[in-house]
């Protein structure tokens, strides 16, 4: 989130305190003194993790501190994995394959790269999936494994643990 506050002592601390009060975890604080013509305000960008449903609480706490919130950008899906699928992807309904992940509500396909060498040849695709949590990602991959088996597709998973 991007915050605007008075450029006076103690303001930054006052803006950070409500984040820990609502159980948030600060990942980064980017504090730049932009060449502001008025020179009396300070712009700060804060990257943070917040438990579900706490954002409204945080917003009102910040307002009480006299901090103006310029922008809140939310990344709902934190866990990302990339897999490769090989087989007759179009014949077996690629949109249905993708939809089986998207329709879960907790995971979605966010990128897809595809290569189709010939009409009757097997195609290959790289699919990026994002999910809310580690458990949801495992559940999404389990769905993909099942769909791949049903459609005789070769699913190549990453080796590393979820990050």
């Amino acid at each position: 989130m991007k915050l605007e506050m008075k450029d006076s002592p103690g303001q930054l601390v006052a803006a950070l305190k409500p984040i820990s009060d609502v159980g948030g975890n600060i990942i980064a604080v980017i504090h730049q003194r932009d060449p502001d013509p008025d020179g009396d305000t300070l712009n700060v960008q804060i990257v943070l993790e917040l438990p579900k449903g706490r954002i409204d609480n945080l917003v009102s706490l910040l307002k009480e501190q006299g901090v103006h919130i310029q922008r809140i950008g939310e990344e709902r899906l934190l866990f990302q994995r990339t897999v490769i699928l090989i087989g007759h992807l179009m014949h077996t309904g690629l949109s249905d394959t993708v939809d089986q992940i998207d329709s879960t509500g907790f995971a979605e396909v966010t990128a897809l790269a595809m290569s189709m060498p010939g009409v009757n040849e097997r195609s290959s695709s790289r699919i990026t999936i994002k999910a809310v949590s580690r458990e949801d990602m495992e559940a999404a991959l389990a769905i993909l494994r099942r769909v791949s088996r049903q459609k005789s597709l070769l699913l190549i998973e990453p080796l590393e643990d979820l990050s």
Binding site: T82, S115, L154, I156, P158, L159
Partner: protein
Amino acid sequence: MKVALIGLGTVGRGVLEMLAKKDLGLVLTGIADSKSAFLDPAGIDIARVLARKKKEGFCGDQHLTAEDVIKKADYDALIEVTPTNALSGEPAIGYIKAALNRKKHVVTSNKGPIALAAKELRAMARKKGVALRYEATVAGAIPVMHTLDHGLAGNEILALYGVLNGTCNFILTRMAAEGLTYEQALMEAREMGYAEADPTYDVQGIDAAIKLVILANTIWDNGVKLDDVDRTGIDLLTPDALRLADEGGCTIRLIAEANPKKHLLRVSPRILDKNHPLVFEGTLNALTLETDMAKEITLIGRGAGSVETASAIIGDLLWIRDRYVQRA
């Protein structure tokens, strides 16, 4: 220490060459190939045996067999290096049992008997008070078993994963580097002598799965079998799949992995970051062990080859000599 050797293929030849070349204090008293055998309690002239094998195609007396060596020769340790039969494990299982019954130590590179009958054979060795060592069965020259037994003694092994088939690693390396199809890369592997005429055993992950079974049984004694391995080979991979992985900063490798807590026993092509320690070129093997104290340990080295495999066998023999024979 006196040793007898059964099997004069690539591995057997490598062992003999090293016994002849190095002053290891190992005396060869019996030898057998598939057609003949030769016994001499005073010690066999290895150079002469190798020369005869090369010239005539057999090493000794055609009226004698491997059984004669195993049952009659005077030796402390049997080196069993006959070809692997992954289905029955024979005749190697019979050879190993016969030697153990005579209270002789056994060192083998043969995956069949260990994958199929490790529990029984190990119990037999324990009962007879002798050693059964099989370092050479998994990842060639890499001292996996010695690392597990000694270097990591006292650690709990939580999981393991690795590249256990050099042929597949070579094929995947070539597909990624040159954009070759699977068929083209396989043909190249054959020309280089890395792949058999029938590549099924390698490319469908059977060889890697057998090694995984050996490791799992050695570490966790859980009695898993080849059929328990969830196995996918590399023969259906496309050059496009490797290119797509490459575009994402990754590549594809055939990975064998075991994690008993997750009930995982799997050989499958996987996506790995190009900087991952298990991504390397050519026919090498590697294994990462995840342990409670040491955390991750990764071993990389030659997974096959005549002298490389001999290294593992000689390591086992000298371990037996130091532990059992010299003391007695």
